[in-house]
């Protein structure tokens, strides 16, 4: 299934290294030749204190507090591996709001 890997690039996430994480994601997705995966920047998920934030859509997996060393596991998930449960820490009400926005095409 096609997957969009949305990486927040707002101020807080950027200050915690989200640009570097996005580059690493693009690199590993390219190396593994994951043609169904598109890595894309996102304006803000509203969980800045928990950043950097990454949301996989339409799978609806939200990874928070991501570090560069977590990218291997996220790419493994994108390749059909298991969810990275340790990075799943966002409150369900915020998840619902953001997933509804994504469902209505707010990218």
């Amino acid at each position: 299934m096609k997957c969009i890997c949305l990486v927040c690039q707002n101020i807080d996430c950027k200050s915690r290294g989200s640009e570097e994480i996005m580059k690493e994601l693009e690199k590993q997705v390219g190396e593994k030749d994951l043609k169904d995966v598109e890595v894309k920047s996102y304006m803000c998920f509203g969980a800045c204190q928990e950043g950097p934030n990454i949301v996989l859509y339409p799978q609806k997996s939200w990874y928070a507090g991501v570090k560069k060393e977590d990218v291997n596991d996220i790419v493994a998930h994108l390749s059909g591996g298991p969810d990275v449960k340790r990075l799943d820490k966002i409150d369900s009400s915020l998840k619902d709001l953001i997933y509804q926005l994504l469902d209505t095409g707010v990218f």
Binding site: I11, D12, G46, C48, L97, L101, D103, T104
Partner: protein
């Protein structure tokens, strides 16, 4: 129509010290100094004067909180950081009636027993700054401020501080940050400035128009002041009208005068005799009203009961040719641009609202997109340090509620049905 600040209700001409004195200027200060600071506070409280910067908080109550603090020193800040789109009342007041504003500052400082007051003025307001600085020099020479004001025991130093020209810099705690040499970013409240403001000391931060009311209140008394306006909103308000009417300008009217009077008698009606589509009675953060509300009395309570707010008195009239979706998008873009980026929720909300509204405006979006506006607003309500996070809600939600067909048409076709 008689005004309190402008006797004829409109700006006449610039009043230097000579003209001001000829009209009884600084008489209020002389009277105040013969009595106690408490007497000034009581007069202001009894007058029912409310803040004219937007929130409408009772001024006497705010000043009394500062006055009663045992922590010393106390400060007064004249908030002339006006940067609301379409608002020009504070600028024109400072330009044309600088001594009236200055006497208000001095009276406020006496009332809260502050030895120091700051004139915080939008740095783009060159003429207003020049006018205030000129008045400061004249008044100092005439002994209206400085050591032992008019021979009394009251000492007052007045300083000028340019305000960064952006919307958030006009927020009271952001003003305090600037006065402390920092970026104009609002502080988390409480504590409020009245108890812990500049350098943590009790500080009375008041809008320009608010303080300009003080001289007349002190001279003529609270009961005289209450002869203007309504029981809930005594006194007058200076309304700003812009290019959507035949005669743009600022007009001082007693609270409670119908919107229609402001539009027709003051503004000369809608420009080009177009038909009215909606009214936004209190600046970009106020909810839209339908033309049937044109006889609504302009006072805090009546406008609130009608579902909107009077804000700082910038009244907009939208006409049939204007697209409500595009106007709403412009408002959302304004708040997104002016968010200081300090609070994550505000950043997310203002960005998200712009993205959603752009999608609606351009058309081709899903039906459920429209429901997301109120969800984003509700989710973020009250989550910021300042009120900016709550500001896009009323105009966006009222526009959608009053003109659902316009939003629907945009979503489907990408065009406005009325354009």
């Amino acid at each position: 129509m008689d005004g309190i600040i402008f006797p004829s209700g409109v700006v006449a001409s610039k009043q230097g010290l000579k003209e001001y004195l000829a009209h009884g200027g600084y008489g209020a200060l002389e009277k105040a100094l013969k009595g106690s600071p408490e007497a000034v506070l009581k007069e202001v409280s009894d007058s029912g004067l409310r803040g004219h910067g937007g929130a409408g908080f009772p001024t006497g109550k705010k000043m009394a909180i500062t006055a009663e603090c045992t922590e010393q020193p106390h400060y007064v800040v004249l908030n002339g950081g006006e940067d609301e789109p379409g608002s020009k009342k504070d600028r024109l007041l400072m330009e044309n009636a600088p001594h009236l504003v200055l006497e208000g500052v001095i009276l406020a400082a006496y009332a809260v027993q502050a030895p120091k007051a700051y004139l915080y003025i939008n740095q783009n307001y060159k003429a207003a700054t020049e006018s205030m600085l000129g008045a400061m020099a004249e008044a100092k020479k005439a002994d209206y401020w400085g050591e032992k004001v008019l021979g009394s025991k009251f000492n007052l130093e007045i300083l000028h501080q340019p305000a960064p020209p952006n919307y958030v810099a006009g927020e009271d705690t952001a003003a305090l940050e600037v006065l402390e040499g920092k970026e104009p970013k609002p502080r988390e409240k409480p504590p409020f400035p009245a108890t812990a403001g500049l350098s943590g000391k009790p500080t009375a931060v008041n809008n320009v128009e608010t303080l300009a009311n003080l001289p007349q209140i002190v001279t003529k008394g609270a009961q005289w002041y209450r002869g203007f306006g309504t029981a809930d909103s005594p006194g007058t308000m200076i309304f700003s009208l812009n290019e959507d009417v035949e005669r743009p300008g600022i007009y001082e009217l007693p609270f409670g005068v119908p919107l229609r009077t402001l539009l027709e008698e003051c503004g000369g009606g809608i420009k080009g005799q177009k038909s009215l589509k909606a009214i936004q009675p209190g600046g970009p953060s106020s909810a839209f009203l339908l033309p049937e509300k044109l006889d609504l009395p302009l006072d805090h309570q009546s406008v609130r009961e009608a579902g909107s707010s009077i804000g700082c008195g910038v009244v907009r009239f939208l006409t049939d040719g204007q697209c409500i979706v595009e106007e709403t998008l412009k408002i959302a873009e304004f708040f997104s641009r002016e968010s200081c980026d300090q609070c994550p929720a505000c950043r997310m909300e203002t960005n998200m609202l712009v993205t959603i509204l752009k999608k609606v405006q351009q058309g081709g979006g899903q039906e459920a997109l429209l429901d997301q506006l109120s969800k984003v607003i509700a989710f973020n309500k009250g989550k910021g340090f300042c009120n900016l996070i709550n500001m896009p809600g009323p105009p966006i939600e009222s526009a959608f509620k009053l003109f659902p067909d316009d939003f629907q048409a945009h979503l489907t076709t990408g065009r406005c049905p009325t354009a």
